[in-house]
Amino acid sequence: MHMLARTGLVVVALMLGAGPVVAAADVVAVVANKSAITRLTPRQVEDIFLGRINHLESTATLVPLDLPEGSPARAEFYATFGGKSAAQLKAHWSRLIFTGRGQPPAVVPDIETARKRVATNPNAIAYMDRSAVDASIRIVAP
C-alpha cells in the first residue's frame, strides 16, 4: 500500500520536473551585435547575473538586465544558469545587499524592452526565449 503510494508520487514528480527542463533549453543569453563578446560559458553568464563579476577581459563594466519576478523566462534562466530557485536567488541577493557587496541587476519590464536595451547598449547583457532573438542581438550562451 505504502510502496505503491510512494511509487506513484515519484512518477508524478518526474512528470512535473520534466516539463521545465525541456523548456529551459530555449532560454539564451544575448548581447548586442556590436558587442565584443562572442561567446560565454554558462558559468560566466551565471557569475555576471549573480553579481560575482561585473566585467570580462577587455570589456567595460557589463550591465546585466533582469526580467521581472515571476516571469517564466526569468525562472528558466536562473534554473539553467546556476540552477537557483527564486528563493535561493533572493537569499543570495539579500546577503550581498546586506553586506554591501552588490546590487541585483536592473529589471526591465519585458523581453521587448530587454532586446531594445541590449541592441542599443554594447555593454548590456540579457536573456530571453530563443524564439525572441532577432538579428540585432547575438546569442552568447549556451
Partner: protein, 777 residues
C-alpha cells in the same frame, strides 16, 4: 647537629632518593609546562573569541544601521514624493529612476488614510492594512516604526514592516508608506566561517522581541525575551562582550550587543564558547595525552633503570657476600678441624686464653678436660681409616651434646679431644661433665654395620689451682688423662701435684706391656748382615717392635727399660727367641739359604737363672740348629760380674750357640780381657763407624779392633754402615761383615723374606761382586 645534617645529606644522595627526586622533578616540569601551556592557550582563545565577538558586533551593527537607514531614506523619499504630488504617486516611476532599492528584497507599498493599498509592488500584501499595528501606530506618531515579524499567510515568509506616516497638505494623516523586508535579510550576513554553527546573529527590538535571530542555518522570528535582563549592557556606548548562557537556547556564548542609533533596535552577536574553545580543548587534550605518554615513558625508563640498578646492586651484594662467605670459610678451615668441624688446636688455644682471662677477671673456676679414646688405634687398624674418621665424627657429636653452649670442645689431633668449661662455680661440675662424656663415649658405635664399644679416659685440670696459664693447664690435663688411663681407663682423673708425667707414662706402658704379649702387639723386624767381600747376606739381627694400640709404635728404648724393671723382659725374650727360631726354620724350609740370626739379650735376661733352660727348651722344641743362633750382649754386661758372665757364656757355648758383643769399642773393655770370654763375634759400635772415614782416632781404633778380632779368630761386624766410603775402608781393613741402614733397614718378616728371595735369584752373579746390593726400602 652537623652530624645529623650530614646524615640527611647521605640520605639525599642515596640512589633511590635521587631517582625518586629526579623523576618527581621531571614530572613536575612536564606537567607544569603542559598545564601552563593549556592555560595560556585557553586564555588566548577566550581573548580571541571576545575580540572576534566585539569586532563582529561592530560590523554587524554597522550593516544593520546602513540597511535601516537606506530603508528609512526610501520611506522619506516616498513620503516626499507623496506629499509634493498631493497624494498622487507612481512608485514604478521612482523605481525606474532608481530612487527605490531593489524590488527583489524591498517591497514598497502605500496605504491611504483608510488603510487601502493605493500603490505598491508587493503582491503578497493584502489590500487593506488598516488593522495592522503599524498602521494604527503611524496614525498617532511620526517616526520610523519597525514591526514585529509577520506572515501574511501561514505559508508566507516572515517579514518586517518599516513604516512612516504620510500627511496631506493640511498636515492630517493621509496614509502610510510601507517597506516590507524579509526578516532573514537582517541575518543573511551569518558567516559560518566567523560565527561557527553554534554562534548567534540577531536583531532585537526595544520591545524585547527578536526581529530575527539566526544560529547556523536556523532562523527564529518574533521570539520575546526579557530585554533588560538579557542585555543589561546594550545601552552602553561601546558594546561590551560577556560570556553568558543565552536564555533562548541555553548555549554559553561570548555575547556582544550594540544598540543602533536612530532605530529602536539592538544587534546581538554571540560566539559559542564550546565551539570557539573546541580547538583549544582538542589541543589541550593532545597536550595532556602527550604529557601522560611522557609520564608513562619516563616511569618505564626510570623503572627499568631502577631495576637494572637494583640488579647491579644485588650482584655486587652477592659478590661481597660470597667473598665474605669465602673469607669465613677460609678462616673456618684455618681454625677448625676438617673432619669433625670442631675448633682445632690454634683456635682452642685462643679460646682457652680468653677463658682464662675471663675466669681470672670474674674470679671463677675454669676446667680443662682432656679426652683420649682408649682403643682408637685398634679400630683404625682393623676397620680402616674411614671407620676411624666416622668414629671421630660421632665422638665429636656426642661430646657436643654433653656440653652447655658456653662450653667449648676442640680436637687437637688424632683421637685427642679437649673441652673447656668456663665460669665454673664448683669443680664438681667438671666431674659431672667428665662422667657424662665417658658415659656418652662408652655407648656402642655402629661402624660398617657392626657395633663397637670404645672407652675414653678424661684428665681434668682446674684454673687456678692446677695452673694459671693455658700451657700449664693443658699439660696438666694431659698428665691427669695419663693417670686416668693408668687407673684402668674408662674413667676420669683430676690433676694432682703429686703426679709425675714420666712415671705416669711408665705406668701406662707397664700396664700395656702386660697385655702386649697376649694381644700379640709385638713384632720382630729383621736387619740383614752382609759379607763385605761377597756382598752376600750372611745373617740377620732380630729387633723387637711394639705396636701400641693407642700410642702407636713405641720405641724399644722407651719400653725395654720398663720391661726390664718389671721383669716382663723375660717372658718377652722367650717369645722373641721362639718366634725367631720358628721364622728361621720356616725360611730354611722354603729353600732360602741358612742364615745366622742374632738376638739381643738384655742384662736381666742374661743373668736370669732360667735362661739356659729356656734356650735349651726352645732349641729342642723348634729343632733350630744352635750354631745358627747368636746372642748379642753389650760390652758393659761383660765386665759387670766377670765370673758369672763367664759361667753363663760357657754354658751357652756348650749348647752350641754363638756369642756376639754388641756396641763394641766404647772403651769399657780392654782388648786383652776379651780373650778370657768365649766370644765368636764383635760388633763395632756405630759411633766409631760413623767417624771411620774422616776421624783419625776412630779409624785407628776400628783398625785395631778388626786386627785384634782377627787375631782371636772372631768375626768382626761393622754396625751402622751408611755409605760406600765407609764400606770401602772397612773392606781394606779386612772387616768381615757389615750391618747398617744404608744397605738394609730393619723390615718385617714378610718383607725380609721377599728380599731374601730376590737375592737368591741373583746369587750366582753376586759371588764375584765387590759391592753389596742395597735392599729395597
Amino acid at each position: 647537629m652537623t652530624k645529623l645534617s650530614r646524615q640527611r645529606l647521605h640520605v639525599l644522595i642515596e640512589p633511590r632518593v635521587l631517582f625518586a627526586a629526579f623523576t618527581l622533578i621531571v614530572l613536575a616540569v612536564v606537567w607544569g609546562a603542559t598545564l601552563y601551556l593549556i592555560d595560556v592557550e585557553r586564555a588566548n582563545a577566550r581573548k580571541a573569541a571576545a575580540v572576534s565577538t566585539s569586532d563582529q558586533v561592530q560590523t554587524y551593527g554597522a550593516q544593520v544601521v546602513r540597511a535601516v537607514r537606506e530603508i528609512d531614506l526610501t520611506l522619506k523619499v516616498v513620503k516626499y514624493a507623496f506629499e509634493r504630488n498631493e497624494g498622487r504617486i507612481d512608485l514604478a516611476t521612482l523605481q525606474d529612476r532608481t530612487l527605490l532599492p531593489s524590488n527583489l528584497v524591498f517591497k514598497v507599498s502605500i496605504a491611504d488614510r483608510n488603510g487601502m493599498i493605493v500603490s505598491g509592488m508587493d503582491p503578497a500584501l493584502s489590500n487593506n492594512v488598516s488593522y495592522r499595528t503599524y498602521f494604527q501606530q503611524q496614525r498617532q506618531g511620526d517616526a520610523l516604526a519597525v514591526s514585529r515579524p509577520q506572515q501574511e499567510t501561514d505559508s508566507d515568509e516572515w517579514r518586517l514592516f518599516f513604516t512612516r506616516r504620510l500627511d496631506d497638505e493640511s498636515g492630517y494623516f493621509a496614509g502610510v508608506a510601507i517597506i516590507a523586508v524579509g526578516a532573514d535579510f537582517f541575518v543573511s550576513g551569518y558567516d559560518v566561517g566567523k560565527l561557527g554553527t553554534e554562534g548567534v546573529l540577531g536583531v532585537i527590538g526595544d520591545d524585547g522581541v527578536f526581529r530575527a535571530r539566526r544560529t547556523g542555518d536556523t532562523v527564529v522570528y518574533g521570539e520575546a525575551v526579557d530585554y533588560a535582563k538579557t542585555f543589561p549592557d546594550a545601552d552602553s556606548e561601546e558594546g561590551r562582550v560577556t560570556l553568558t548562557e543565552n536564555p533562548w537556547d541555553g548555549v554559553s556564548r561570548y555575547t556582544g550587543t550594540q544598540r543602533l542609533y536612530g532605530a529602536p533596535l539592538t544587534v546581538v552577536v554571540g560566539l559559542s564558547q564550546a565551539e570557539q574553545l573546541a580547538e583549544t580543548s582538542a589541543s589541550a587534550r593532545t597536550y595532556l595525552w602527550r604529557a601522560a605518554a611522557a609520564t608513562v615513558v619516563l616511569l618505564l625508563v626510570v623503572a627499568l633503570l631502577w631495576r637494572m640498578m637494583r640488579q647491579l646492586a644485588r650482584a655486587r651484594r652477592e659478590a661481597v657476600t660470597s667473598e665474605i662467605a669465602h673469607a669465613r670459610q677460609v678462616e673456618h678451615l684455618a681454625f677448625h678441624d676438617g673432619l669433625t668441624g670442631l675448633p682445632n688446636r690454634s683456635l682452642f688455644s685462643r679460646m682457652l686464653q680468653q677463658g682464662v682471662q675471663m675466669a681470672r677477671r670474674n674470679n671463677r673456676l675454669l676446667a680443662v678436660l682432656f679426652l683420649d679414646l682408649d682403643r682408637f688405634k685398634h679400630i683404625n687398624d682393623t676397620l680402616g681409616h674411614e671407620a676411624g674418621d666416622q668414629l671421630l665424627q660421632e665422638v665429636a657429636a656426642r661430646l657436643k651434646s654433653c656440653l652447655r653452649d658456653s662450653d667449648s670442645v676442640a680436637r687437637l689431633g688424632g683421637d685427642e679431644f679437649v673441652v673447656v668449661l668456663p665460669e665454673l662455680a664448683d669443680d664438681v661440675y667438671a666431674a659431672t661433665v667428665a662422667q657424662k662424656i665417658i658415659s656418652a663415649i662408652s655407648r656402642p658405635f655402629t661402624l660398617k654395620g657392626l657395633e663397637f664399644r670404645v672407652t675414653g679416659s678424661v684428665g681434668i685440670s682446674i684454673h687456678p689451682q692446677d695452673g694459671l696459664d693455658e700451657e700449664t693447664l693443658t699439660k696438666n690435663a694431659d698428665i691427669a688423662m695419663y693417670k686416668a688411663k693408668a687407673e684402668g681407663k674408662n674413667t676420669f682423673q683430676f690433676y694432682s701435684d703429686t703426679f709425675n708425667a714420666e712415671s705416669l707414662e711408665r705406668l701406662t706402658l707397664e700396664s700395656s706391656l702386660r697385655r702386649a704379649l697376649e694381644n700379640n702387639e709385638f713384632e720382630i723386624h729383621y736387619q740383614a748382615k752382609s759379607d763385605l767381600k761377597t756382598g752376600q747376606i750372611t745373617g740377620m739381627e732380630a729387633l723387637l717392635r711394639w705396636q701400641h694400640p693407642d700410642l702407636g709404635t713405641v720405641a724399644p728404648m722407651r719400653f725395654i727399660p720398663v720391661a726390664e724393671q718389671t721383669g716382663l723382659i723375660v717372658p718377652i725374650g722367650r717369645w722373641v727367641l721362639k718366634t725367631v727360631c720358628l721364622q728361621n726354620l720356616a725360611w730354611q724350609k722354603e729353600g732360602l739359604s741358612r742364615l745366622h740370626i742374632a738376638v739381643n739379650l738384655s742384662e736381666l735376661q742374661f743373668f736370669d737363672e732360667h735362661l739356659l733352660h729356656d734356650v735349651e727348651t726352645i732349641l729342642e722344641s723348634t729343632g733350630m740348629e744352635a750354631d745358627l743362633l747368636e746372642f748379642e750382649i753389650t760390652e758393659g754386661m761383660l765386665m759387670r760380674d766377670v765370673q758369672r758372665t763367664l759361667r753363663v757364656l760357657t754354658a751357652l757355648k756348650k749348647l752350641g750357640v754363638r756369642i756376639a758383643v754388641d756396641d763394641f769399642g766404647l772403651g769399657y773393655t780392654t782388648l786383652a780381657s776379651l780373650r778370657q770370654f768365649p766370644i765368636d763375634t764383635i760388633k763395632i759400635d756405630r759411633s766409631l763407624i760413623r767417624g771411620v772415614t774422616h776421624v783419625a782416632d776412630d779409624q785407628a781404633l776400628t783398625e785395631a779392633i778388626i786386627a785384634m778380632g782377627k787375631s782371636l779368630s772372631m768375626t768382626v761386624v761393622a754396625q751402622g754402615v751408611e755409605n760406600t766410603a765407609q764400606a770401602k775402608i772397612l773392606r781394606e781393613d779386612a772387616c768381615d761383615e757389615i750391618q747398617g741402614f744404608y744397605f738394609d733397614r730393619p723390615v718385617p718378616a714378610a718383607q725380609f723374606a721377599q728380599m731374601l728371595r730376590a737375592r737368591a735369584a741373583l746369587a750366582p752373579d753376586i759371588g764375584t761382586g765387590s759391592q753389596p746390593v742395597p735392599a729395597k726400602t
